[in-house]
């Protein structure tokens, strides 16, 4: 080679570095005048709220000056601005008290994600091809206003549909006002790992349509029926804080924790006793424990109050639930049932909770009611160390689910003309059997507020990307995790990086343009005005020891991250719950004959991806799954004996077939799962979801059977059966290279 080629190749060797290198301003981007008065190197702490799961933990954001590439007035340049560098728990916030879970920590990557949608987009080309063109906000808003004003305000259905997660705070106020302005809107507020069943059970048993707030710090005995309370269920950080204290925070006293499930979850791994229970029989087991307690007169039957009376046969001390009768159906030995019952009754405060797969069977409501009755019998409801309820307003039950919406769209029963999508990715969280994808094709106009291109947003006609949470005004009314009255609020921690707009602000703007009653119902110009109104009302109601007027109250709340009562305001447990709940023993139903589909299929919430909404974050892809150490992939877990029977080896690519679909994923041999069960994490298998998650792995939700939980509109996602076959060789990326057995040298006890 000659000198020219040599220099050419050496010029290629290296990727682009930061632009500061060359020392000549003519070769660099222009610098915009800083809009904030920041000193480089010095961090400020700003409060915020975590929005990645329903717990509603409080954050402290560490903000420092940095230089970001932004566009101002069509020019690209560098701007010195405050950048969020690290998230911590807010020490003052009653829910998480300064702590933060792994997902909360990773929330930072949402703001800086390279594939965030940077401005409004409009569809060009056929739907589903993924071709979008940029547009200005003015054009985008005009389009949305025109579509909404076209909706007939007649006596029939207006044709408006909305899909969001369960909303709280002033966001709910705004969305509700919007929806209710139109006749018969189809407003679906749902989450895949939602808690509708637990709320329905708590409403019936305790008169509180809320998930429970556990006082684990003072518990002495915990019976968990499938609830992943240290990982993904309910308010994980608050529960983990209590758990730590429950274990070693009280010298001389250490609580016992028993977990009943089919597959050792991250929570189950910490149990003192982990006990396999047949899928769907958690309710039977809970009542067998109750039977022993009542039969041996360890607690009076009346102690269970209304919660107990809901269960068929309670007043006769549950004659059908003797351990010997129940043992075979649950696969829990009768002696074990008797022993645990005695232990729990003797070591109060004792508490029982149900969640995850146990409440996602077709008899999930019965299971939850049974566990509630057991908790009530043990005397811990409304007591220290037991179950209490937040004073937050009860969540109204929705009569509309994604499944119902899909079926109405497909049958033509619901003429939806405009669909608004916010914070939801229903194409991913709906099984193929619901036909949701086809249903969406019937909707003439879909607008999405998502800040990422995901598989549902890829079907939209108009995309009006939201700010990331750290760039937004936020408010929240957490529904569990603390018995104090809490209203969280936080101003944006940093200025927007891209040409995005806060969705509540967009809705307020649209409402203003539509005028009429809607504009009257939503008089605010921006979201912070709406939140301020709610705080003015709060000040009027609660008063304040430190703030002398509403303005000062509002300022202080923003500085602190919210307002919370100094004392606990636990909501009372009412004896008059909703009547007519399903207290009759219901056996679980599974889809797929056992002969053809020998395995129970248990999809579970991933500690890292939750319901898949966090799979786009590279930190979450690279952090190993707590139990399997898998990174950047997905897997199907099965028991070593089951694997041996089918000649499946670690890493084999398996085809998992249900009566409603099939998928492929590598096998992972796991001793902590029943031989009759296979499990798969939810989160991977996105068709579109940024460069880090697109077409990576498989989505277990897609093959689930469309069964419902009796007595509710909820999806029984744990009720599918599958069969397995080997389809080739795969190789999951494991951090640990292999699952290790504890050897004698490493044995610490």
């Amino acid at each position: 080679m000659d000198r020219r080629d040599f220099l050419k190749i050496s010029g290629l060797a290296g990727a682009t570095a930061a632009l500061e290198g060359c020392g000549n301003p003519d070769h660099q981007l222009i610098r915009f005048i800083p809009e904030e008065d920041l000193i480089p190197g010095i961090a400020t702490s700003k409060p915020s709220i975590c929005t990645l799961c329903p717990a509603g933990c409080g954050l402290i954001v560490r903000v420092m000056q940095g230089e970001a590439e932004v566009t101002r007035d069509g020019r690209l340049g560098l701007l010195k601005m405050g950048l969020a560098k690290k998230l911590e728990g807010n020490p003052a916030h009653p829910i998480n008290q300064g702590k933060l879970c792994p997902r909360g920590q990773a929330g930072l990557q949402v703001t800086y994600h390279p594939d965030r949608l940077k401005g409004p987009l409009g569809r060009v080309g056929p739907r589903g091809q993924g071709q979008f063109g940029e547009m200005t906000w003015d054009t985008a808003l005009r389009q949305l206003v025109s579509q909404l004003s076209d909706l007939q305000l007649s006596n029939q259905e207006s044709g408006l549909a909305l899909i969001t997660p369960p909303l709280r705070g002033q966001k709910k106020t705004i969305f509700d006002a919007f929806a209710n302005h139109y006749k018969k809107p189809l407003f679906v507020e749902s989450a895949f790992f939602g808690d509708e069943v637990i709320r329905a059970a708590n409403a019936a048993s305790f008169g509180q349509a809320l998930p429970p707030t556990l006082d684990l710090a003072q518990s002495n005995y915990v019976l968990s029926f499938g609830a992943d309370f240290l990982g993904t269920w309910n308010s994980p950080v608050a529960q983990a804080i209590g758990y730590g204290h429950m274990r070693t925070g009280r010298p001389g006293q250490r609580a016992k924790f028993v977990q009943f499930e089919q597959r050792i979850s991250q929570t189950g791994a910490s149990a003192d006793e982990w006990i396999f229970v047949q899928p769907g029989t958690e309710g039977l087991l809970a009542l067998a424990l109750a039977h022993v307690i009542m039969a041996e007169k360890l607690r009076p039957a009346a102690a269970a109050g209304h919660a107990g009376s809901l269960i068929d046969g309670w007043s006769q001390a549950l004659p059908d639930y003797a351990p010997e009768e129940i043992a075979e159906r649950t696969s829990v030995k009768a002696e074990t049932i008797s022993r645990l019952a005695r232990e729990a009754a003797a070591h109060g405060p004792a508490v029982a909770v149900a969640g995850n797969a146990a409440t996602a069977q077709t008899n999930g409501l019965f299971n939850a009611l049974a566990v509630n009755a057991l908790s009530a019998l043990l005397g811990s409801v409304g007591q220290p160390g037991g179950i209490t309820f937040s004073p937050a307003p009860a969540i109204k039950e929705s009569s509309l689910s994604l499944e119902i919406l899909a079926s109405q769209l497909n049958s033509g029963a619901a003429p939806v003309k405009v669909l608004l999508l916010y914070g939801a990715n229903p194409v991913f969280t709906a099984p193929l059997a619901w036909g949701l994808r086809a249903a969406l094709d019937k909707v003439p106009f879909i607008a999405s507020f998502s800040n990422f291109m995901d598989e549902t947003t890829a079907l939209a006609d108009l995309i009006l990307p939201d700010h990331s949470p750290l760039e937004s005004w936020l408010d929240d009314l957490p529904v569990s995790g603390s018995t104090r009255t809490i209203v969280s609020v936080a101003p944006p921690a940093m200025k927007p990086l891209h040409d995005t707009r806060a969705t509540p602000d967009v809705l307020l703007d649209v409402a203003h343009q539509l005028g009429g009653d809607l504009a009257k119902a939503l008089p605010w110009r921006t979201y912070d005005e709406a939140i301020q109104t709610s705080f003015a009302a709060l000040y009027k109601e609660k008063g304040s020891k430190t703030a002398k007027d509403a303005d000062q109250f509002w300022t202080k709340a923003q500085e602190q991250g919210g307002w919370w009562s100094a004392e606990s305001n636990a909501a009372p447990v009412s004896a008059r719950g909703a009547p007519g709940a399903a207290g009759k023993a219901a056996a679980p139903h599974f889809d797929g004959e056992a002969n053809d589909y020998p395995f129970h299929f248990v999809p579970f919430a991933s500690q890292l991806f939750f319901d898949g909404s966090l799979a786009n974050l590279p930190w979450m892809q690279e952090v190993p799954d707590p139990l399997t150490t898998v990174m950047w992939g997905t897997w199907v877990e099965l028991n070593p004996r089951a694997a041996q029977k089918l000649s499946i080896q670690q890493g084999d690519l398996l085809e998992v077939s249900s009566p409603h679909g099939k998928l492929r994923a590598p096998a992972l041999i796991n001793p902590g799962i029943s031989p009759d069960v296979v499990a798969m994490p939810v989160g991977q298998g996105h068709e579109h979801f940024t460069r880090y998650a697109s077409r990576r792995g498989a989505n277990p939700v897609s093959i689930l059977s469309p069964l419902s939980i009796e007595g509710t509109h909820s999806f029984a996602w744990a009720a599918t059966r599958v069969k397995l076959s080997v389809a080739g060789r795969g190789k999951p990326t494991l951090f640990g290279a292999s699952l290790r057995e504890a050897s004698a040298e490493l044995e610490h006890r």
Partner: protein
């Protein structure tokens, strides 16, 4: 007396959630290596959660153990470094000086805990993910070894602040990122030379144990074994 930093990890509290793992990589500019490099065992987790399985279904027990640099007082990584990039600081930390490191990787070879990670390539961040990088911590370049530093940047910042305010450091004032985030408060950091510190107190528990202590590394991370439940004690 000079500080002697150590940590106590209570395995009876640890739930294996890995909040520490993510907090650490956020604080310390740890690169995400991507699927291919991770498959070659090059993922950098300065703190990781080991999981151990015992037994056969249904009597399976799982144990979690967070493992990070043990800042050994007799660190095997120190004598093998030809350039003194790995050395013992005056406050008991095992310092890793990136500009001295020439990438021989003898230290990683000698470390029995597998807590040292090498930069086989210059790390890359897809913009604008790089805006999250912590200005208080170096961004390591290719050819350099890295590992947990007990968040020495936080230690230094607290020491500078205490000096500016002309007061001694308070116990609990310094919390590495992992310690700060841990929801069940399984991780405790403190001065082992201060008998009043929480870390010193916990390190003397009946449940204390150290990882691979028999190798003579004198690790400064004390693990408190998972306890068991005895009906009689808790009646």
């Amino acid at each position: 007396m000079a500080h002697h930093w150590g940590m106590v990890i209570d395995l009876d509290r640890c739930t294996g959630c890995e909040a520490c793992v993510v907090a650490c990589r956020a604080e310390n500019n740890i690169q995400t290596v991507g699927e291919d490099q991770a498959a070659r065992s090059r993922a950098k987790h300065w703190i990781r959660v080991e999981r151990y399985y015992e037994g056969e279904f249904p009597d399976v027990k799982v144990k979690f153990q967070p493992v990070l640099c043990q800042q050994c007082d007799a660190a095997p990584c120190e004598p093998v470094c030809p350039t003194f990039a790995s050395y013992h600081t005056a406050e008991g930390l095992n310092g890793q000086i990136y500009n001295r490191c020439i990438g021989t990787r003898y230290c990683a070879n000698a470390c029995p805990y597998n807590v040292r990670f090498f930069n086989f390539y210059n790390p890359v961040w897809d913009k604008p993910l790089h805006l999250q990088l912590n200005p208080d911590v170096s961004v390591r370049s290719v050819g350099v070894m890295e590992k947990c530093t007990f968040c020495v940047q936080r230690i230094k910042a607290a020491e500078v602040q205490a000096e500016a305010e002309k007061r001694p450091l308070k116990d609990g004032e310094i919390r590495p990122a992992c310690v700060q985030s841990c929801p069940p408060t399984a991780l405790v950091f403190g001065d082992l030379n201060d008998p009043e510190s929480e870390a010193s107190g916990l390190a003397n528990s009946r449940r204390s144990t150290k990882l691979l202590e028999e190798l003579g590394t004198r690790p400064k991370v004390t693990y408190l074994q998972r306890d068991s439940w005895h009906a009689s004690e808790n009646a």
